[in-house]
Each structure stands twice: as C-alpha cells, then as structure tokens.
C-alpha cells in the first residue's frame, strides 16, 4: 500500500474512526525492463548529440523517424545504410488539444496541444509539444523549429521500443520560426 493510499485511508478514518472497515485498497504494480532495440537505440544516441535521424525506404523513399528497421508499406528491411539525418525544422500538419482529466497519475492541469510535424526534407513526428504557443494559436501550416533541451538536462529516458517520436527529455518542443504559413499543398496528404 502506498503512502498516498494510507493517507486516504487515514482521512476516511478521521471521518468516523469507529466505522467498520468495509474496503481494502490494492495497488497492483508490474515492473519490467527491456533493452532498446538497435534502431531505436541509434535514434536515442543521436538525440543526445542533438541530431534527428530516420531511415529512408530504399524502394518508396518514405522516411521513418524514429527508424523502425523496415518499411511497412513495401515490406522491406531498412538498415544503417538507409539512415539519413533529418532537419530540425518543419511544418505543423495537425494537432490535438488535450484537456486533462485528473485521473490517477495525470500531472497536467491546463489544456495543451500535441502536434504532428512534417520535417523539411522528409520524416514525420507526432506527439510533439509547442510549449510557448497558446493552445488557441496552434494550427496546421505553422513553420516551426526544434527547441533542444539544455545539454546538462538532455536525456532520452522516455524513449521506448514503442516510441513514436515523443522525446521530451531531449526535445523540449517546437517554436514558430515566424515565417509565413506553408501552403496546404506542401503538407497535405503526406503524413501517415
């Protein structure tokens, strides 16, 4: 039982210390470890050097970041030979505003936006943050550039084998470049 749970129980008890105990709190916890697979590890290592990498499919040319080691459309393997360095500028292709519900473990309290990006030169990232832009101003077509975490703070702790490019320990988010919005033809129908 966690301290928080015990605190809850104590509070209940404070209401009526003599009431029968009718419930029991359980705190099921399962912890396991796994090693990052090689392609994700290379992606994480590159982020620590302030580089974004991806794999370019040798058949169709689509760029995958984080690299997956295969192109699911062409069903071909991609390897280190297909690795390319990506730019750290791009276009917002879409966004979602999340209004936090205060469920267990939720730390956010205010609505925030998660954006999908198409990087200049290829590659798509999703679940990215725009920390300095009011939620109401986030829109498709915005031109943005990366905000790297400071050297001393940079980490890749939140990257897993099932990551989709969210790497908040290394990439703090994205900021508008101030350039005019991209025309829709530049990013429409190019994401996935």
């Amino acid at each position: 039982m966690t301290d928080a749970k015990q605190d809850d129980a104590k509070q209940d008890e404070a209401v009526d210390p003599n009431a029968p105990v009718v419930g029991m709190d359980y705190f099921m916890q399962l912890e396991y470890q796994e090693q990052l697979c090689p392609v994700v590890r290379e992606f994480a290592d590159a982020l620590m050097e302030k580089r974004l990498i991806g794999h370019k499919c040798p058949r169709c040319g689509l760029v995958y970041t984080p690299p997956r080691g295969y192109c699911p459309i062409c069903t071909v393997q991609t390897t280190k030979a297909d690795e390319i360095e990506l730019t750290t500028r791009g276009i917002v292709t879409n966004y979602t505003v999340v209004t936090p519900v205060q469920y267990y473990g939720q730390e956010a309290t205010e609505p925030f936006a998660k954006v999908s990006l198409q990087l200049d030169g290829g590659g798509n990232l999703s679940l990215q943050d725009m920390p300095n832009v009011p939620v109401g101003q986030v829109h498709p077509g915005m031109r943005v550039e990366v905000i790297w975490a400071p050297d001393a703070e940079r980490n890749v702790d939140d990257i897993t084998n099932r990551s989709w490019g969210s790497a908040e320990g290394a990439i703090r988010g994205w900021k508008p470049t101030g350039e005019p919005d991209a025309p829709i033809d530049e990013y429409s129908d190019k994401g996935f």
Binding site: M1, V22, M24, M28, E34, G105, D158, T160
Partner: protein, 154 residues
Amino acid sequence: MFYSRTLAAKRLTTHTIEFPYTRTLGPVNSAFLTGLRDGQLLGIKSRDGRVLCPPTEWDPTTGEGLDVELVDVGPGGVVTTWAWVVEPTRKHPLDHPFAFALIQLDGADTGLMHAVDAGSIDNMQTGMRVTARWKSERIGHITDVEAFVPEATL
C-alpha cells in the same frame, strides 16, 4: 497508468504498469480487519468447533456458510513453519532479513501467515513462541501488525 524510464548507459527501459483499486471485504474479512484496526486479532468458529484465523466465510470441511461468530485469538502464538527471507524486495513487509511464517495464534487451530522479525535466522525455530508487534497508527489492513516478534525479546 503506464510510464517508463531509460537507464542512459545501458539503454534499458523500465516499464511500470500500475492499477490501483479497492475491493469490498464481505462480513468476515470486514470484521477481521476492523479488529486489526482496533488492535484485536479475531478468528471464526467452524462447524466442528475449531477456530480459524485468518477467519473464512465458509467452513473449510463442508463448504457451508459460517455464522459471523468471532472470537479473540493471540496476540501470542506458535510458529508452525517458516522460511527465512535473506534479501527482502521493496514489496516485502520489512526492509531487513526476516521470516515468513505460519503462526498458530493462542486460541486458534489454524495458521496465520505473517512476518517474524527475529533479527537473525539463528533466532528462528519451529515451535518458537512469538507475539504481535502492532503499528501505532492502524488503518484496517493486515500490515497493522507490523510483524510478529519472538516472545523472549519482549
């Protein structure tokens, strides 16, 4: 909830899945845990007159429902079997080596599984007498008894 972290050097990710929930206790377990909160150990009488602790809702021999007729047991008892835990995990009741033991409390005919805080495996013996060490703040949980300790040390 679900979260993960990576050990930078080894690129090991640790995943933690957590699921907090509350279950209702029913009449017998409710009485047992209410007793623990009040610093009291309780057993239940089976159809053949034996006293079961921990108490069950059903007679273990016939499967019939038991009347909620609870009797005081303990706080002392006898260790009937035990296993020494050399390296406790963080989920174990004590953070130093201890024994998991079946303790037949005075007045009971069955064993209650709990921790025995004996200090050393050398102090453990089948048949030894132990007694409950209560927590000062109790909430109605089996851990309200922090551990059992050898009677001789009191």
